[in-house]
């Protein structure tokens, strides 16, 4: 006889019955069961029991009363976690501050870089037909984004399947007159009627289909419209372009987005200038961008394959031999480094990915800080963990708690980071040459990615400390200080510190390399004089201007030429059948006067400099640079004098040789250069000013010039400023580098600071004992620093080759670059040492100075 009530009924009862009633009911039933079993037998008793249980199925026995013993709800524990987190944050202000600011800086940099990268990668994507729009470019002696105006009409005839063919001619500057007011405007373009069908700009007024069809029409961007006409509707109003043409406003578009390779303040209809253009020759100085939209299924390769025949048919075999037309996908234009001379400088994808890499490194540094500080901190909280475990916390709950605290800190950091990004956005344009608006932050894709970054940060920063902290043995954790000596994760922490040092050093080396390359660009010997030389458009009546300049006491020297040394302007083919060079090569042709060589201090290595030619002199004497004669196979400069060359299709005699000077930016190798006298091409006036009274002299020149050219605005540029402008792209990149590596270094230093301060607190007693036993302050500081110096050296061994490899790769993009010498590495390690020393020594000196009586008194 089992004497047990039926299991099912028992279970049923315990399941449905309210807990506060269960015991008495079970007891009563059990009692009756036993009695029934005795009186009527087990079977009957079981029946009875079951029946009685079922009878208890009444609402009042199901109803739960509030429990007498507290059973914590899930939210109660959460509340506790929050309370503890809040207390920890408050209790350890410096630790929390370092963590939150470090993370905020890291996140801010990350978000900013993400916005930049996103902007870069989305270039020209806003055009609906972007994936089948191509720019027709030409590859002859060089890659050239502009093709002759002759190509567009021929293309229309021979490729009727092209959906759109659009001619676009960019101009650097223009003078606009509205009423009596004159404006000097940068960048505008002539564009034909199909242009609005290729590029989807936002039209505020005017009809995009017709606005650019008629001659003498102008389409303004919103900013320009407001500048010229204020709040008045500009449609149908007239503006005057370059004192020549009256244009009617036929449309207004919204300002261009930041992510387009185009750049213009207004568009003038192509018809306005078409009749002035050379529409026949394939090789022509005149040329513009040609955009074509291909039909949906047409492979660009198949169009490109027909180009040789197309050139042959329209311009003959001779041209076809040297030239090739290419289709450059619209979305690639921004990244194609082969085309250096275009409206907006291309940026290599490597630079952009490099920037993304920097973002990754920064967020990693911030996370390492967090992990380091949290694991060091975990020791302090071992008691809390021990108690929690003793009270029955599961490991999962402890992991959750730490992750929750991490989330709280990261959340605070995110808010700070977003505020920082908002505050920084207006500076992205001047600093990085990228326009970003706050509205981009609200886009769903951006929000999703930022949340992703935040989530990853939480996991990166929180998971490891969570597992360390939750893994403490409760007994060990509760035994005070037992964990101090055997901190788990100490080696991991060392590894992370090494990684962080390495990152910092790579950043420092990178910044130093970029800095010295920048310095090399701007300050290194260009082969010509560039100080205090100002150049401007010669304008009308150059002869009168010449007299005026002679009379100006502040002018040291002046020269008329087609272009200054660093202004590349005019390329032309050259060869020398006499010296066995039949094939054409390309040379720069500068048309200069007799003052050019002395003023720019170009060094003659052989022969005679340029002399003035009188009208009617038909001799063709030229001065060439060393690169050109080397190309001809002449090694000794003096041997070149008197030799014949063909330049631009004409015979010329070399009368002198100049030492190579930088005629373009340092991105490219110095090319062959020919200087010759030609008074018809003296478009540019360059004046060397005396250093005294520079302003007055310039004002005087401006007055004289404006007197001669009353309808124009005087615009000048200093040569050294012009040279600096050539390296704008690098300057921006340098800025970005400085900014972000600065952030990485700050984060790293903050982490180190926090780590040392935690260490100092943990070792207070040890320091006290050491001092009592006679240790000096210096030896204690050394005790703290020694370890970090070792870690730093190990990090350097890792960082140096990596940085060298990366920066060498970057430098190779430039034809002329510095060599990465040991000085840079030495400087890097010195800088890291100083940073580490400053951060470590503050805390360690503070720890070393504590009176041992105080630190040893308690406990």
């Amino acid at each position: 006889m089992k004497n047990e009530p039926p299991r099912w009924a028992y279970r049923l009862l315990s399941w449905f019955c309210a807990p506060h009633l269960l015991e008495e009911i079970q007891g009563d039933l059990h009692e009756r069961f036993l009695r029934n079993a005795r009186l009527f037998g087990e079977r009957e008793a079981r029946w009875q029991y079951g029946w009685e249980v079922l009878q208890f199925l009444q609402p009042q026995f199901l109803k739960r009363k509030p429990d007498y013993s507290p059973k914590p709800h899930a939210t109660d524990m959460l509340r506790n976690y929050f309370k503890i987190a809040y207390r920890t944050i408050l209790q350890q202000k410096s630790y929390s501050f370092i963590n939150v600011t470090g993370l905020a800086l890291g996140l801010a940099a990350c978000i900013l870089i993400f916005l930049v990268v996103r902007n870069e990668l989305s270039y020209d994507a806003f055009n609906r037909k972007a994936d089948r729009t191509y720019r027709v470019t030409v590859h002859g002696l060089d890659y050239n984004p502009s093709v002759s105006f002759a190509v567009a009409p021929a293309f229309r005839t021979d490729f009727p399947e092209a959906e759109q063919v659009s001619q676009f001619l960019y101009q650097r500057e223009a003078q606009i007159q509205v009423g009596n007011e004159k404006f000097l405007e940068e960048s505008f373009a002539f564009a034909d009627g199909s242009f609005p069908q290729v590029f989807d700009f936002e039209w505020l007024s005017g009809n995009p289909k017709t606005a650019l069809r008629e001659p003498n029409n102008i389409v303004l961007t919103q900013t320009m419209a407001r500048k010229y006409f204020g709040d008045v509707d500009p449609m149908g109003k007239t503006v005057r372009l370059d004192n020549e043409k009256d244009l009617r406003v036929s449309g207004v578009i919204r300002d261009l987005p930041s992510n387009t390779h185009l750049n213009f303040n207004f568009l003038v209809s192509w018809e306005t200038v078409r009749k002035d253009m050379n529409l026949k020759n394939f090789w022509s100085i005149q040329g513009g961008y040609l955009y074509v939209v291909l039909p949906e299924k047409l492979q660009p390769k198949r169009v490109e394959a027909r180009f040789p025949a197309f050139i042959r048919k329209n311009w003959g075999q001779e041209i076809a031999k040297d030239a090739a037309l290419l289709l450059q996908p619209l979305r690639e234009i921004h990244f194609d480094k082969r085309y250096l001379t275009q409206i907006t400088m291309p940026r290599s994808k490597e630079t952009i990915y490099g920037l993304a890499g920097v973002a990754l490194v920064i967020i990693l540094t911030a996370c390492i800080n967090f992990v380091n500080l949290a694991t060091a901190q975990a020791v302090r909280r071992s008691k809390e963990v021990g108690i929690r475990k003793a009270l029955g916390a599961f490991r999962g709950q402890l992991v959750g708690q730490v992750l929750g605290e991490t989330t709280l800190l990261v959340g605070m950091a995110t808010v700070l980071a977003l505020l920082a990004v908002l505050a920084f956005l207006p500076f992205t344009k001047p600093l990085l040459d990228i326009r970003l608006d706050a509205s981009q932050l609200a886009e769903p894709a951006v929000i999703a990615i930022i949340s992703g970054i935040v989530l990853i940060t939480i996991l990166l920063a929180g998971l490891y400390p969570a597992f360390i902290q939750s893994g403490f043995q409760p007994i060990k954790a509760l035994k005070a200080r037992a964990t101090d000596t055997s901190v788990s994760g100490m080696t991991v922490r060392k590894g992370l510190v090494i990684l962080q040092f390495a990152i910092t050093q790579v950043m420092i080396i990178g910044t130093l390399v970029v800095a010295s390359q920048m310095d090399y660009f701007v300050n290194q010997d260009m082969g010509f004089e560039k100080e205090a030389i100002v150049s401007f458009w010669s304008g009308n009546k150059a002869d009168v201007m010449r007299q005026k300049l002679k009379g100006n006491p502040g002018v040291e020297q002046f020269s008329f030429a087609s272009a200054g040394p660093a202004f590349n302007f005019n390329f032309t083919p050259f060869s020398s059948p006499e010296l066995g060079m039949a094939e054409d090569d390309v040379t720069e042709l500068k048309l200069v006067d007799e003052n050019y060589i002395p003023m720019y201090q170009l060094e003659m290595t052989a022969g005679e400099p340029i002399t003035k030619k009188v009208e009617g002199d038909t001799t063709n004497n030229v001065v060439v640079n060393q690169t050109l004669i080397r190309r001809l196979g002449i090694q000794k400069d003096a041997d070149a004098v008197g030799k014949r060359v063909r330049v631009a299709g004409a015979q010329a005699i070399i009368q002198g040789v100049v030492r190579d000077f930088q005629s373009e930016s340092k991105h490219k190798k110095i090319r062959a250069c020919v200087l010759t006298y030609n008074s018809r091409a003296f478009w540019q006036t360059s004046v060397k000013l005396k250093p005294q009274n520079l302003r007055e002299t310039l004002t005087k020149i401006e007055q004289d010039w404006t007197e001669l050219n009353p309808e124009s605005i005087f615009r000048y540029e200093f040569v050294d400023e012009h040279i600096a402008k050539l390296y704008m792209q690098e300057e921006k990149m340098y800025n970005a580098f400085r900014l972000f590596s600065g952030i990485a270094i700050i984060i790293g230093a903050m982490g180190l600071f926090g780590l040392v301060s935690l260490m100092a607190v943990q070792r207070t007693k040890e320091v006290g004992v050491r001092k009592v036993l006679g240790a000096s302050v210096a030896s204690i500081v050394l005790l703290f620093s020694r370890e970090f110096i070792w870690l730093m050296l190990i990090a350097f061994v890792l960082a140096a080759p990596l940085a060298w490899y990366g920066m060498d790769l970057w430098l190779r993009e430039y034809a002329y670059h510095i060599q990465i010498g040991p000085a840079i590495f030495l400087a890097a390690i010195l800088v890291t040492f100083v940073i580490a020393a400053v951060t470590v020594s503050y805390q360690s000196i503070k720890a070393a100075l504590v009176d041992p009586v105080k630190s040893l008194r308690s406990e």
Binding site: R32, Q55, F61
Partner: protein
């Protein structure tokens, strides 16, 4: 006078608790009812009535000792509160008053 609502069964249970004095708990009450009234009472009905009465404040309870025959579970022992006692007295008084008001001829007498 405020009327106290007591059902007939509740009243009987309450009285039984009073009868059992110290040892009033579920099983004992059920058995006593069985014995005194001769009707079969289900244990759940008794429990329900007891708890209702406790909610009404007529009974109070405490947990007693555990016994082996209950599988180690404690009994809930009930006792009548002052309110319960007054209510019982009230009911009894009303009844008494009613009995007293019945004229001798008012009720048919069962004759032998």
């Amino acid at each position: 006078m405020r009327r106290s609502y007591l059902g007939e069964f509740e009243e009987v249970v309450l009285l039984t608790v009073a009868v059992l004095a110290e040892g009033a708990y579920g099983v004992a009450i059920t058995d006593e009812l069985d014995r005194q009234t001769g009707r079969t009472v289900s244990i759940s009905a008794v429990h329900a009535a007891l708890h209702r009465l406790e909610e009404k404040g007529m009974l109070k309870s405490h947990l007693g000792d555990a016994t082996a025959e209950r599988g180690g579970r404690r009994k809930r022992l009930f006792s009548v509160t002052v309110l319960g006692s007054r209510t019982l007295h009230d009911i009894r008084a009303v009844r008494q008053q009613l009995w007293d008001s019945i004229s001798p001829q008012g009720l048919p007498v069962v004759s032998l």
